[in-house]
Amino acid sequence: MKNTETLEVTTPTDREIVLTRVFDAPRRLVFDAWTKPELLKRWLGAFGGWSLVVCEIDLRVGGAYRYVWRDPEGAEMGMRGVYREVVPPERLVATESFDEPWYPGEAVDTIALREDGGKTTVTTTVLYQSREARDIALKSGMEQGVAAGYDKLAELLASGMAQGDSESGA
């Protein structure tokens, strides 16, 4: 059984990006997939030729993690961080910083897992140090993404692209 759920990306405040996605699995499994290196290597950024070649996790408050991705030409991208909260299987808070910083400062990721009827809703909040840093992060993939023509735009808008009407800071 394969149904692709939709990913919601919103920017409720100046410094945040929030991703919300439903997974058709109990949250214990989703939490494992998010915190066990052999499982994370199977999915995180592991597409389009990239693979997660280094994945080390010391899953405790104050413990560190380290990820390195590599593409077929040998280009590498590394990031690291430290866990601030570890509450299996419902919550993870960790810092993130890249080896070659592409946005200023360090960001803080909060991952919240809520289970309902065997499905798990994962809400990932990335809090940047400044609005500029957040905007740079959002802009990062623009080159690949911007091939969208009118039809695609209309489709996005009609499907309710940036949801979360009430809490978005106006």
Binding site: T4, F23, D24, L29, R42, G45, A46, L153, L157, A162
Partner: protein, 121 residues
């Protein structure tokens, strides 16, 4: 306005269902306030208010054409905002599709392991 201020105005303008529906309509071509108000169960002044927000965010422009003042979509600004979101989204959508497959596999394995042990639940 600086870039990031522009972007914030744009995101704030897009974070409303009625305004997104107005943009979706305008993506098909110019329209007047009266034409835009038709499909919505809200008054023309309310629509005008939404149009002002969209105009300030640079997402639409309004032409002086006698009394009609038709609205048109500003594709560049919109492409910029959706483009920014799209690139970020692609990384995560790609990853999450892989995660879907992995979770499926993990659940299948669990079921098989239970069957082997002869357990039911």
């Amino acid at each position: 306005m600086r870039d990031s201020e522009h972007l914030n105005a744009t995101f704030a303008a897009l974070a409303d269902q009625t305004r997104r529906a107005i943009l979706a309509r305008l993506a098909r071509g110019e329209a007047s306030v009266t034409e835009l108000a038709k499909p919505f169960a809200i008054s023309q002044p309310a629509i005008s208010k939404h149009l002002r927000v969209l105009e300030r965010a640079g997402l639409i422009s309004r032409r002086r054409d006698a009394q009609r003042r038709p609205c048109r979509i500003e594709a560049k600004r919109l492409a910029e905002a959706t483009g920014w979101l799209e690139g970020y989204r692609q990384f995560w959508e790609g990853s999450f599709q892989r995660l879907d497959a992995l979770l499926d596999e993990m659940q299948t394995q669990k079921k098989h392991a239970r069957m082997k042990r002869g357990g039911h639940r």
